[in-house]
């Protein structure tokens, strides 16, 4: 009865106001999906703040947190179903080159089941993305990237929120700060720090932390952000992203690009696997080819997708021939592919041929790499212990690298205070508290750095009215990025309006965060009314004649 009255009341409104102002249907109640507060208090709060802001546009907005599993399922695989969602792209060294994100996030090829979650379909953008990929001239490529950013700014497929800062802390009585390396967009928690870090006293074990358990550690698996910190140390790569954000030869003596589609690599000599066997040119070729065997290394497969062939050109040298020019190849492939021992992995791949599992799920008892650290023990939900590889050409100064895995942020802070960990590498908690701790405990020093990653709210263009650029612009215009950075992200973030972080100064478009079209509530309302939307009372309606045909998210 009551419901009937309400329904009647609702339907009466457009009828009564029809004389005053013609309008379409009211916009349906919209839903912002996000992770539960427990998993990500910051995103949750950002979603709540955004919902508040959108309500000012006469919309009904609810925040719907979903547990991790369900969240991924719906956002990733049920793309017709959701309106908007919070999401993030994390910073990884390989993302120091803008190509991966520039290409994957927005090209139309990725709409069906790739990274183009929102379903942006812009032929202009597709052209720009492909062009920057093939442009080897840096200034020209920079211009293309900035053009792409402006295009996205006009389209607003996302409500960009912030670029987070990485907060790390360490015990300065244990570690010599001057031995740490700062990597652009990553901070001091990076490969170079681990290999260079100098102890001040007798504590020679660097004990870092992770709040999430890594997945299986294999040279053909990406074991989550934290797991990668360990795999980077164990498996060498032909190139690595240097502290400057540019790729530099690592396990290669040299890497040259004689033409746009060829890459010559000379392997460093004298390298040994942790089991004592020498690293050969065959191992290098195998490592470049293996991810392409069948579908046995799905995560790494895209990184070799552009390789046409690999030829051995000498006892320690090889040539890679690409299918197409690829500006980012050194970063996104050579700096990413792990060197895996052929004598161990070739038989495994052979064995996998007739099995459903992939190489990702295979974990050796004690995994063998050739990197500056080697495995001692692994308990994925407790700790990973690596020890320095004294035979490595870049042998570390520390004895062991230990990662404690504990999801409890409170306990992690306590552990830093008590010395159970001496390098806080994974802190998802309240930035204030860490700063306070450092103030009250002089032995602890905090270092922050702007991350390559970013956080955003995705607008699903498959579902009207998100297909309307005016509507998207209005939503983005009312989001208060300063407040989000200050309140939701505790000040450890800067406002964003692009997927390219200011940390990548060369590629970033300075000031783009100030150029969101509109920019105020009044302007946003104007965008909407200009596009034909009608405010009926305090409720936003579609332009005249437009029916609401999309079901409410459930």
């Amino acid at each position: 009865m009551k419901r009937w009255l309400v329904a009647a009341g609702l339907s009466a409104i457009p009828f009564l106001s029809a004389n005053a102002q013609p309008a379409g249907d009211a916009v349906r109640p919209l839903v912002i999906l996000t992770q539960p507060q427990a998993a990500s208090p910051q995103d949750y709060q950002a979603a709540e703040m955004t919902a508040e802001a959108w309500k000012a546009l006469g919309l009904k907005v609810t925040v719907r947190p979903l547990p991790g599993q369900q969240f991924n399922q719906i956002v990733w695989y049920e793309r017709q179903r959701w309106d908007t969602t919070t999401w993030q792209m994390v910073g990884r060294p390989e993302r120091s080159d803008p190509d991966e994100l520039t290409y994957n996030l927005f090209v139309s090829a990725n709409i069906a089941n790739g990274y183009n979650l929102v379903g942006l379909n812009s032929p202009d953008y597709d052209k720009l993305a492909q062009a920057q990929r093939e442009e080897l001239d840096l200034p020209k490529r920079q211009a293309l990237i900035r053009q792409a950013q402006e295009l996205i700014n006009q389209q607003q497929p996302y409500g960009f929120m912030v670029h987070p800062k990485n907060l790390v802390a360490f015990n300065q009585t244990v570690w010599d700060e001057s031995s740490m390396q700062v990597q652009a967009g990553i901070g001091i928690r990076n490969f170079w720090t681990w290999t260079n870090l100098k102890p001040k006293g007798t504590q020679k074990d660097v004990i870092v932390n992770s709040v999430a358990p890594p997945t299986n550690l294999s040279p053909f698996n990406i074991p989550g952000a934290q797991g990668s910190w360990a795999t980077e140390l164990v498996w060498d790569r032909l190139m690595r992203i240097g502290p400057d954000g540019l790729p530099r030869p690592w396990a290669a003596e040299s890497v040259t690009r004689p033409t746009a589609t060829t890459v010559d690599v000379v392997l460093r000599s004298g390298m040994k696997w942790h089991d004592g066997l020498p690293v050969t040119i065959e191992d290098a070729v195998f490592s470049l080819e293996a991810p392409g065997f069948g579908d046995k290394a799905p995560m790494y497969r895209p990184f070799v997708g552009n390789i046409a062939k690999v030829d051995i050109t000498g006892p320690m040298s090889l040539r890679i021939t690409l299918k197409r020019p690829d500006a980012a190849f050194l970063v996104s492939s050579l700096s990413k592919l792990n060197l895996a021992p052929k004598h161990i992995w070739a038989p495994i791949f052979e064995d996998l041929k007739n099995k459903p599992e992939t190489a990702e799920s295979i974990m050796e008892k004690v995994p063998v790499g050739s990197g500056p650290f080697k495995f001692v023990s692994v308990k994925l939900t407790e700790q990973i212990v690596l020890e320095a590889n004294k035979d490595h050409w870049a042998k570390p100064n520390v004895d062991r690298w230990i990662m404690r895995i504990a999801p409890n942020v409170e306990a992690t802070l306590g552990a830093l205070k008590s010395g159970e960990i001496n390098f806080l590498t994974d802190y998802t908690g309240d930035p204030d508290l860490l700063t306070q701790l450092a103030k009250s405990t002089p032995t602890i020093k905090v270092a922050d750095s702007l991350d390559i990653g970013f956080r955003f709210i995705a607008y699903n263009e498959r579902r009207p009215p998100f297909n309307d650029v005016a509507f998207r612009r209005a939503l983005s215009a009312v989001m208060d990025r300063e407040a989000l950075a200050a309140d939701a992200y505790g000040g450890a973030a800067v406002p964003a309006n692009s997927w390219i972080s200011p940390a990548l100064a060369f590629w970033a478009d300075p000031g783009i965060d100030k150029r969101v079209p509109g920019g105020s509530l009044a302007a946003a309302k104007k965008i909407l009314t200009d596009a034909g939307y009608v405010f009926v009372g305090n409720e936003l309606h579609y332009p005249v004649g437009v029916k609401e045909t999309t079901p409410v998210y459930n």
Binding site: Q37, A38, P65, G429, L433, A483
Partner: protein, 289 residues
């Protein structure tokens, strides 16, 4: 001692026992909070309060905010008051379900005996072999997390305790003269069970209910803590989880962290106190061994 006399005594002691008085007082206070939440709570518990255009995070205790605000700028006292509502909803629903199922099966098993008794006892044994929290977690993972899972788990796994006691009591009651008399005068089995026996066992069942309320609240809190609560509902367990996720401990935000825990404790304690008259109620498994 016959279970019957034990039951009698505990029911009577509920009225006399000072502990039980405290228990009922706590329940009354919580019920009042739940019913009058709208009037009592100074703020909308979900409203994000602002100071200027910034969120009013972590405001200290003040006349405006007796228990301060939390990390998302919400009034802690208002949340505490509204939390009583979901606590009562979850607690009462679950307790009602436990009592209803337990009493029904206990009655049937005790009065009918024979194969009905054997089947029910066997079923109870199976249920006692399912670990409570893990079962709830799995269930929460495969359906939508929230109060429903908690209530279902409590009802599905805790009825055997009540059923056992009711069954024992019915076994002794059915031999009584007046039951015999009812049988002789041609009362139907259903009538004897529900009209004659049921009112006799209800007080005992209600005592079990008061304990079940507590277990349900604890279960809900645990589920919330492990991330399987209903995030859209304001509950004490959810408040604890939220404070935990936002490091209220490190911050020393006792005003946020302590009250919901204390409220849960008080509510569970109230159930214990009420049933204290018969301590064996707390140890149903052992009582009849």
């Amino acid at each position: 001692m016959l279970p019957w006399t034990r039951g009698c005594r505990s029911v009577r002691s509920v009225r006399l026992d000072p502990y039980a008085t405290v228990g009922f007082t706590i329940y009354t206070a919580i019920a009042a909070m739940a019913v009058f939440a709208r009037q009592l709570a100074p703020y909308d518990p979900k409203a994000i309060l602002k100071v200027g255009n910034r969120i009013a995070r972590y405001l200290p205790l003040s006349p405006e905010h007796w228990l301060g605000t939390n990390s998302s700028g919400r009034d802690v006292l208002s949340q505490l008051i509204w939390g009583a509502r979901s606590a009562l909803e979850v607690g009462l629903t679950a307790a009602f379900a436990v009592v209803a199922i337990g009493t029904l099966l206990g009655l049937v098993a005790g009065y009918l005996g024979g194969w009905a008794d054997r089947v029910i006892t066997w079923f109870a044994d199976i249920v006692l072999g399912l670990p409570f929290l893990p079962f709830m977690l799995i269930l929460a993972a495969l359906t939508r997390p929230g109060a429903g899972v908690v209530i279902f788990t409590v009802a599905a796994l805790l009825w055997p305790n009540t059923a056992r006691v009711i069954r024992a009591q019915v076994l002794s009651l059915r031999e009584r003269a007046w039951v015999e008399a009812a049988r002789v005068t041609g009362c139907s089995t259903a009538r004897i069970m529900f009209v004659h026996l049921l009112p006799q066992v209800l007080p005992l069942a209600a005592l079990y209910g008061s304990v079940a309320i507590g277990w349900a609240i604890l279960a809900e809190a645990s589920a919330s803590f492990l991330g399987f609560g209903d995030p859209e509902i304001i509950s004490w367990g959810g408040m604890l989880q939220e404070s935990y996720a936002n490091q209220a401990l490190s911050r020393g935000a006792w005003n946020w962290f302590a009250p919901p825990g204390a409220a849960i404790m008080a509510m569970v304690l109230a159930g214990f106190l009420i049933s204290r008259g018969s301590e064996k109620l707390l140890f149903p498994k052992l009582a009849d061994q």
